[in-house]
């Protein structure tokens, strides 16, 4: 009998209802919630320092929706929604379980927080310099940890496993490794489990999301897109599918596109658990919304663990105003020129300033592409550690309302605090992952 593993979320903002559908109707053995992107975790650390919760703001909503079904159906839950504060998330989960009258064994995985291992001379990959060269103290550092501690928690009888920065695919590999009894050096089988995790971890991106292109790639029921589940066979091959009651589609093409999502060399996809070779993978249709994947192979896991070091990124300021009708592009260009001159010549700003003409040249402006439109939105953007420049940019764009070219309307502006992440590696032996139990 195949092992059934569902995906309850593929990122922090993902919808709750499709997870509840899977928990209720998916006959799942395990339901895994992936919830961390490169910056989500660092933002959690900032929130924690400011006295807010450092774990996922959707933890309670998601668990409240699925736990009664999971208990009824014998489905166990794994998640990295613990973010910057797995123990805080564990406590919140224990309170929620008590409120729902559910008796659950809750495990918390700690050890991914490696800020204490980061020193001024720690090298950063992207800048080719050190942490000290960055000029600001790091606010957080988290290693991408693998599946082992989660397997230990499952072996200990956990109904819910809550972690922080475990690798996305490891969340799904953990139950596969436990149920299929995969040895820690069985690289081919670990790669097959990692492949299932990789295909499920972005939820709807394998069931028809991030895919539709009218006239070329049609997807039915996009307003009711379902989350995926995998039926994993004892040999590590799997069928990726979804509930028939949901919208979307699972086809060889949706699976192929997701196979290489955020992958560089397909023959060396590095995870904490295995260096997976996806170039050997076979993908074939196995019925309506059913796609079989098999034959991933693997090589020994990397010696060191990738670690994200987060720094205060200052403020991102974005202001927009629109021009429409005859001559819209000329008026928007004139408005952009006014903003540029005022920021640089009159206000003395000397950082990077981006001015987009949305409708003519924005997302693909740097690629040199232009299009014709009579409906143009000027967008000015800058990033600064000095809040003053963020405020000034918005003032300059807002003042175009009265002092800019004719017919400017619809000003909107916002300032977003930002976090910058850089990568480094830490020695695996220096990262000690532990399983703690909520009493």
């Amino acid at each position: 009998m195949a092992l059934r593993i569902g995906c309850g979320s593929g990122g922090a903002p993902d919808r709750v209802a499709p997870a509840e559908d899977l928990a209720r109707d998916g006959a799942l053995d395990y339901l895994c919630f992936e919830s961390l992107a490169e910056r989500t975790l660092a933002q959690g650390h900032v929130a924690l320092r400011e006295g807010r919760a450092g774990y996922s703001s959707k933890l309670e909503a998601r668990l409240r929706a699925v736990l009664p079904h999971c208990v009824r159906n014998g489905t166990r839950v794994l998640t990295n929604m613990g973010g910057a504060d797995p123990m805080g998330a564990g406590k919140a989960t224990a309170w929620l379980a008590a409120e729902l009258g559910l008796s659950l064994k809750i495990a918390v995985i700690e050890g991914d927080d490696v800020l204490s291992l980061i020193a001024p001379d720690t090298p950063l990959i992207e800048t080719a310099g050190t942490v000290a060269d960055f000029g600001r103290p790091p606010v957080a550092a988290n290693a991408y940890i693998g599946h082992e501690a989660m397997v230990e928690a499952l072996a200990g009888g956990a109904d819910i496993v809550i972690a922080g920065r475990v690798s996305d695919s490891s969340l799904f590999l953990a139950p596969i490794a436990r149920e299929l009894k995969i040895a820690e050096d069985d690289w081919d089988m670990l790669a097959r489990g990692a492949l299932v995790g990789h295909l499920l971890e972005c939820s709807t991106q394998v069931t028809g999301g991030y895919f539709a292109d009218p006239g070329y790639k049609e997807v039915p029921g996009l307003d009711n897109l379902g989350y995926p589940l995998a039926e994993v066979a004892p040999d590590g091959s799997a069928v990726i599918t979804k509930l028939a009651s949901t919208g979307g589609c699972v086809t060889p093409m949706t699976v192929k596109e997701q196979l290489l999502y955020e992958v560089h060399d397909p023959a060396a996809y590095l995870t904490p658990d295995v260096s997976a070779d996806f170039s050997t993978v076979r993908i074939s249709a196995a019925g309506v919304d059913r796609v079989r994947v098999s034959d991933a192979t693997g090589r020994p896991r990397p010696a060191r663990l990738k670690t994200l070091v987060a720094f205060d990124g200052g403020f991102l300021a974005e202001g927009e105003i629109s021009y429409a009708g005859p001559g819209a592009l000329d008026r928007a260009r004139l408005a952009a020129e006014i903003v540029r001159r005022r920021m640089i010549e009159r206000n003395g700003y000397n950082g990077e300033l981006r001015l987009d003409l949305i409708g003519a040249a924005s997302l693909h402006a740097t690629a040199g592409l232009r299009s014709e439109s009579q409906d143009i939105r000027l967008r000015g953007a800058l990033r600064s550690t000095d809040r003053k420049w963020a405020d000034i940019l918005l003032e300059e764009i807002e003042s175009l309302w009265m002092g800019g070219p004719a017919g400017g309307g619809g000003f909107r502006g916002r300032i977003t605090p930002s976090v910058i992440t850089q990568s480094t590696f830490v020695n695996r032996a220096d990262v000690r992952c532990t399983v703690k139990w909520m009493s």
Binding site: R39, E126, Q258, L260, P266, L316, L363, A367
Partner: protein
């Protein structure tokens, strides 16, 4: 007889981001087109099409059994999510930069 078509007519694509590295995988609908796309859509061709944007190294990885090509653009995201001032800091739309290119097919 060869003819020129926009890649979008014969292939699908998806963009992903990691730091300042963009990757776009390209998948032909009809396996019969794979060899000609492979010939026509080289890494050099992609880099040359958008030199301002793709200023770093462009590498292509081939998956002949699945009829796919993976283009990896180093320093291809204007600094990446952390630093880019592009509306689309992840480069999610970059798949359509590749799909907009013309290729020669047999």
């Amino acid at each position: 007889m060869t003819r020129r078509v926009m890649l979008r007519e014969i292939a699908s694509a998806r963009a992903g981001d990691k730091g300042d590295i963009s990757n776009v995988s390209v998948w032909v609908y009809d396996p019969a087109h794979f060899d000609s796309v492979r010939r026509s859509l080289t890494a050099e061709r992609v880099k040359a099409a958008y030199p301002e944007l793709f200023g770093g190294a462009v590498t292509r990885y081939d998956l002949p059994d699945l009829h796919g090509l993976n283009f990896v653009m180093e320093r291809g995201l204007e600094g990446g999510v952390n630093a880019s001032l592009n509306v689309d800091a992840h480069g999610k739309s970059f798949s359509f930069l590749i799909l907009a290119l013309e290729v020669e097919i047999d």
